[in-house]
């Protein structure tokens, strides 16, 4: 038997070829990562080099931190369970991030109650006392982690934990970013983070409910802490963002929302997906300049969480159509209005629905659900108006739906008591369904066809009866 080392080497030689496609791609990404890494850092790096030189000349140069880190204002924190790095940036509340100013956080935080109630239902039901749904800006922690991998398994390590918080008295918004220089520093960083949780009621995140928090929970357990059963509440903006923008933005990635809805332009930015790669490069060569882009990216993410707080607070407060312009696309207008409806904002939703009804464009998928809302509220005339529009849209479609026609047929039969009109709509519905069947057969359309025929027979009897009477 050959030595273990020989066998491993042969394994390596033969393990390589089978995955050329994958390996090739990975290399390509790595290279482009290097490019972006350099171009993002390039100019800055030279500036930092100067400042590092400056501080190096100064008298009290703290420890042997990499110049790229000192340039970023990173300091070493030493505690009972070891040391790690912390960077702190303090913003005055007057700071503007895109459309919004941080000082608005104080007022807007409280407006998010309906989101908090919805997202923390299980927890609030379990123990209303420890889980207040009331929200105060200074008891929020705006949290975003950068991890070494995907998923929430035990091998995914958050190497950077960034969080922001409001100090109303000082009039500041502070961003802290904790970094570990190697996995051995994790415990100290987590202990520090735990200290920061004191007095916090909610974590404000983007996908934190199913990513950042489960990952952190796992890390606490791995380092010997046990879940107490009491967790901070969540304000996770991923779900509200999807509710509003899923159909009108190409994606619901934070950077997309920033540019298209929050007025934030990052310029050169290291995409979050490259963070693991950059950290691993730092681990292998110790060059902290790889991390500059990650710091910047993470800090902006945290500021954007503050912007989202203001944005959703404003939406719930009814600012759309008042101080703020209404969404320009009917689809988004409808989704926003429907979201407001679900979050106790029906009064404000009204204005949006009114704007929607005033839309002159032919309409779209939103017509039927919007009509259904008016029907639910007993406002049949408004509903009928939308059905009419949906009906004429349907007639121009290759594969039409007969739903609007059937609604109208019911409307004229039962509420307006005009069986002849109702019959006409039913007749047209039948035509549409037949056109549909000729293109695609399905059990559903067959059932629908039967139902329409049944309806027509009844309506014919009614029409005949009316004629006899007349």
């Amino acid at each position: 038997m050959s030595s273990l080392r020989d066998r491993l080497d042969r394994l390596r030689a033969h393990a390589r070829p089978p995955e050329p496609a994958l390996g090739g791609d990975a290399d390509a990404t790595a290279e482009s990562a290097e490019d972006t890494g350099h171009s993002a850092v390039g100019g800055e790096a030279s500036r930092k080099a100067v400042s590092a030189g400056d501080s190096g000349a100064g008298p009290a140069k703290p420890s042997g931190l990499h110049p790229a880190l000192t340039a970023l204002g990173v300091e070493e924190i030493a505690g009972e369970s070891g040391s790690f790095l912390r960077r702190r940036a303090v913003y005055p509340l007057e700071h503007r991030h895109g459309h919004y100013v941080l000082s608005e956080l104080t007022r807007c935080a409280g407006l998010l109650r309906p989101i908090a109630v919805r997202q923390n239902r299980v927890r609030i039901e379990a123990d209303p006392a420890v889980a207040p749904a009331d929200i105060e800006a200074h008891r929020l922690l705006f949290l975003d982690t950068e991890t070494t991998g995907l998923g929430v398994g035990t091998g995914n390590l958050p190497f950077m934990i960034g969080f922001g918080y409001v100090d109303a008295a000082a009039g500041t918004f502070t961003v802290e970013q904790l970094l570990i220089r190697h996995p051995g520093e994790e415990r100290a960083m987590l202990a520090y983070l735990l200290g920061r949780f004191a007095g916090i009621t909610h974590l404000v995140t983007y996908n934190g409910r199913s990513f950042d928090w489960p990952v952190l929970t796992s890390r606490f357990v791995l380092n010997g802490w046990r879940p107490s059963g009491v967790e901070p509440g969540h304000l996770d903006f991923l779900h509200p963002s999807r509710a509003l923008w899923k159909n009108t933005l190409p994606s619901c990635r934070l950077s997309r929302i920033e540019e298209d809805r929050l007025g934030i332009f990052r310029g050169e930015d290291v995409p979050g997906s490259l963070a693991p790669e950059l950290y691993m490069r730092y681990l292998s060569d110790g060059d902290a300049s790889h991390l500059r882009g990650v710091y910047v990216h993470n800090e902006r993410d945290i500021l954007t969480l503050a912007s989202l707080t203001v944005h959703f607070g404003g939406v719930l407060e009814g600012r759309l159509g008042a101080e703020w312009a209404l969404p320009s696309e009917p689809e988004e207008l409808f989704r926003t209005a429907a979201w407001l409806d679900e979050h106790g904002g029906s009064i404000h939703a009204e204005r949006l629905f009114a704007a929607l009804c005033a839309e002159t464009t032919p309409g779209g998928a939103w017509l039927l659900p919007a009509a259904a809302r008016f029907k639910r509220l007993g406002r049949y005339d408004e509903a009928a108006e939308l059905w009419e529009r949906a009906a004429s849209l349907a007639e121009s479609r290759l594969l039409p739906s007969a739903e609007a026609h059937i609604e109208l047929s019911m409307h004229y039969e039962h509420r307006r008591r005009e069986p002849a009109v109702a019959l006409d709509y039913a007749q047209r519905a039948l035509g549409l369904l037949q056109r549909r069947t000729s293109l695609r057969q399905s059990d559903r359309t067959r059932a629908e066809l039967d139902a329409v025929r049944h309806r027509m027979a009844r309506l014919r009897r009614k029409v005949e009866a009316t004629e006899r009477l007349g």
Partner: protein, 764 residues
């Protein structure tokens, strides 16, 4: 026998009737009867919880079988226990009893049950829940597998007393997320592993590593659970348990369960051409016997060795008996059927609604289908243990049962059918694993590092761990800092590692006859020969033709057809020796054998169309698929120039081919492995040795110790081959020894034997 319906009142009556049937009895080479065995019992242990004994009493259980009592006692002493008893001997109570006893006295305790398949896990939960309900105690048993809804998962993690799962789920879902299972791991008292014998070969080697990981996680949470294992009959249960778990075990093998009388009938299909040694097809004979049983009202299971055979037999049987039975009363059962369909079939068998089932060894495991009365084995299942396991499907505690072993024309079957004493007198095979296969070990070290960092001084497996960790650090998979090795890759390692085979992904079969419907799946290994384009794929007795095989997307699109043939594909295999680790020369120098590393490239070449029933070749076509590479371990022996010199190249070719045909059947017998796990390739002038050579290799990357074992047993293997050829009754070679004369020539038999006697004889 009821003269009007043809139904037999009892099995005894049916067997009486059979003995008078000359047409059948002519082909019976041996009739073995195992007498009925009475129960041996022991009283409930005095410390057994009253609630437990009451609940058992309510089910009519008032005492334990001796093996159940022995297992209880061994667990009480704190030992790891492995119980070995045949099918239907009440072995689940051997582990359920101590587990429930503990949970009754300590509600915070937890137990983890592992079964090789999901189906087994579900049966188990039903049984445990029934007992808990009968005791009116709050003991929660849950299955945790791919089908468990996400909402339920969290409840199970925190509150399930007994979590029932499979090794794959443990590997890819539980261990990598162990922090969600704090309650389970901190309080884990028992780990139950049933069907221990199923964890052998590649699968077993993987599972041994999953258990290494499991023990590591338990240690992290401060628990040291006891392992309670159960196995079907194998030769080395304790050794196997100890290799798999890496701990010392107490063995409980004194079976106290009663059994009814059992008949094992050896059946050899009649010879239709004596000179060519051709017998009637075993498929047709199995079908005849099964139809005879089914028509007499006897619930019957038929085992066939391949998926294709299952489907062919199913088609024949359904056709033969369609007047007596509805189309749903005779079913197929094999891997590749979707779980829902399988559950439906299992249920139908238990209720008796389904009268007959044709299965691969998928039903060999303890899936609950009740006890049937008769079993027909189409061909020797490949190992003594499997044979007993499959025939155990027929057999009740009271009343008789019968198993027919229908020999196929392959050499091993013919050897066994003519030497029943060899079969009956031999202990069942050993289960072997090779958990330190470098590839398997490395894969699991990655997974383990993902779960918890390694520390200096840790051990994992039989190789020097620190070397492997350093290797992985060089590969930038791990990161070393302060004597600890951390996972440092973006990927989730368990996703890329399948415990079941080298194949990472299965091919999905999509039926396009009416819309798109997922029909089943085939592992990557079977894909090139089973679902190449134009192949006829059989599913539940229905023929489908593969229209398109999307190799990169792992999808095969099929459409229902009705043709009178099936397809059979061939592979072209090339071998390259990379490294020789061991070498030995036979005393006379006529044979040199070597063991080392091989690179095998396999490429499917052509497929043949074979007419149904007659199995004649009616056409062929090419297969265009990429070749597959396999880096594995192998053993080969070559004949010296002197031995080769006296024969023409043609004669040598025939001799080698004949010998290889025999060895391909004998090798799995010695290894107790699936015949698919080991390959045999003869070459008249091998590239590596320049001599006539026969190669064996493990069909798994890195090898799993099979060819290494053959290298050690070389002499015994060749001696056995000689005996088999010599003992065959044919004139000059037949499918039952060196192969049919069309393949090895008129002198094939003499040439093979001559070669062996000249060389190996000298060695002996």
């Amino acid at each position: 026998m009821n003269p009007w319906t043809g139904k037999a009142a009892t099995m005894e009556e049916w067997l009486e009737h059979l003995r008078l049937n000359r047409e059948i009895m002519e082909n019976v080479t041996y009739w073995h009867t195992q007498p009925a065995r009475p129960a041996r019992t022991a009283p409930f242990p005095p410390e057994l919880d009253q609630r437990l004994s009451d609940a058992l009493g309510a089910r009519g259980v008032v005492s334990l079988y001796t093996h159940q009592a022995a297992a209880f006692e061994a667990v009480r002493e704190g030992r790891h226990v492995v119980t070995v008893t045949p099918t239907a001997s009440g072995k689940t109570l051997c582990y359920n009893l101590p587990v429930l006893q503990r949970l009754l006295t300590d509600p915070s305790a937890r137990a983890l049950y592992l079964f090789p398949t999901k189906a087994l896990a579900q049966d188990q939960v039903a049984e445990l829940q029934e007992l808990a309900d009968a005791m009116e105690v709050d003991i929660k048993t849950h299955t945790y597998d791919g089908d468990t809804p996400p909402t339920v998962r969290q409840v199970i993690r925190n509150a399930g007393h007994i979590v029932v799962t499979n090794p794959d789920m443990l590997h890819s879902a539980i261990l990598p997320h162990h922090t969600k299972w704090v309650k389970l791991f901190e309080n884990l008292k028992y780990i139950v592993i049933d069907e221990l014998h199923a964890y052998r070969g590649v699968f077993g080697s993987h599972v041994a590593n999953v258990i290494r990981r499991l023990k590591r996680i338990c240690a992290f949470y401060g628990s040291a659970p006891q392992f309670l294992c159960a196995s079907a009959t194998i030769a080395n249960p304790r050794e196997h348990a100890e290799r798999l778990i890496e701990a010392s075990f107490a063995l409980v093998d004194d079976n106290g369960a009663p059994a009814g009388e059992k008949h094992l009938v050896f059946y050899n299909p009649p010879v239709v051409n004596r000179q060519l040694g051709i017998r009637r097809s075993s498929v047709l004979e199995s079908q005849k016997l099964a139809a005879l049983l089914l028509r007499s009202g006897i619930q019957t299971i038929v085992f066939a060795r391949s998926r294709v055979r299952v489907e062919i037999l199913l088609t024949y049987l359904q056709e033969l008996t369609k007047r007596e039975f509805g189309p749903k009363s005779i079913r197929g059962y094999r891997g590749g059927y979707l779980p829902k369909l399988r559950r439906e079939i299992e249920k139908g068998l238990r209720s008796g609604e389904i009268r007959g089932v044709v299965s691969t060894n998928a039903l060999e495991l303890g899936i609950d289908i009740g006890q049937l009365q008769a079993c027909v084995l189409n061909g020797y299942p490949g190992s003594i243990a499997s044979t007993w396991q499959q025939s155990g499907r027929a057999g009740r505690r009271h009343g008789s049962s019968v198993t027919f072993l229908v020999a196929s024309s392959n050499p091993l079957d013919q050897y066994l059918i003519q030497h029943p004493d060899y079969f009956l007198g031999r202990p069942p095979e050993e289960a072997r694993i090779h958990p330190d296969n470098l590839l398997i070990l490395l894969d699991h070290i990655k997974c383990a590092a993902y779960e918890l960092p390694f520390e200096a001084g840790d051990t994992f497996g039989g190789e020097k761990l620190v070397d492997l960790l350093e290797f992985l650090a060089e590969e930038k998979v791990l990161h070393e800092n302060g004597g600890r090795w951390y996972w440092m890759e973006q990927a989730f390692p368990a996703h890329g590692i399948s415990l079941r085979s080298a194949a990472q992904e299965n091919f999905v079969i999509i039926d396009m006859t009416d819309g798109h419907r997922v029909l089943g799946e085939v592992d990557r290994f079977g894909a090139p020969t089973l679902i190449h384009e134009e192949a006829i794929y059989l599913h539940e007795g229905v023929q489908y033709q593969v229209e398109k095989l999307d190799y990169p997307e792992k999808k095969a699109y099929v459409r229902e057809v009705n043709v009178d043939y099936f397809t059979d594909a061939s592979l072209a295999v090339e071998l390259k020796v990379l490294h020789v680790d061991k070498e030995r020369e036979s005393p006379g120098g006529a044979i040199v054998r070597q063991y080392g590393e091989l690179m095998v490239t396999a490429k499917p070449t052509i497929f043949k169309k074979m007419r149904l029933r007659t199995h004649e070749n009616i056409g062929s076509g090419p297969i265009h698929l990429p070749e597959e590479e396999l880096h594995t371990s192998g053993y080969w022996f070559s004949f010296s120039e002197e031995a080769a010199a006296v024969r023409s190249a043609n004669d040598m070719q025939s001799a080698l081919l004949g010998l290889a045909n025999v060895l391909v059947h004998l090798a799995p017998l010695h290894l107790m492995c699936d015949p698919m796990d080991i390959c045999v390739v003869p070459q008249v002038k091998a590239v590596h040795t320049k001599q006539p050579t026969i190669y064996f290799y493990d069909r798994y990357p890195g090898g799993i110790g099979l060819s290494q074992r053959l290298y050690d047993k070389h002499d015994e293997l060749l001696a056995e081959a000689g005996r088999l050829i010599e003992g065959c009754g044919c004139l000059s070679g037949c499918p039952a020894c060196v192969g049919p004369i069309e393949e090895v020539g008129l002198l094939g038999k003499d040439l093979a034997l001559g070669l062996l006697q000249k060389t190996a004889g000298a060695a002996g």
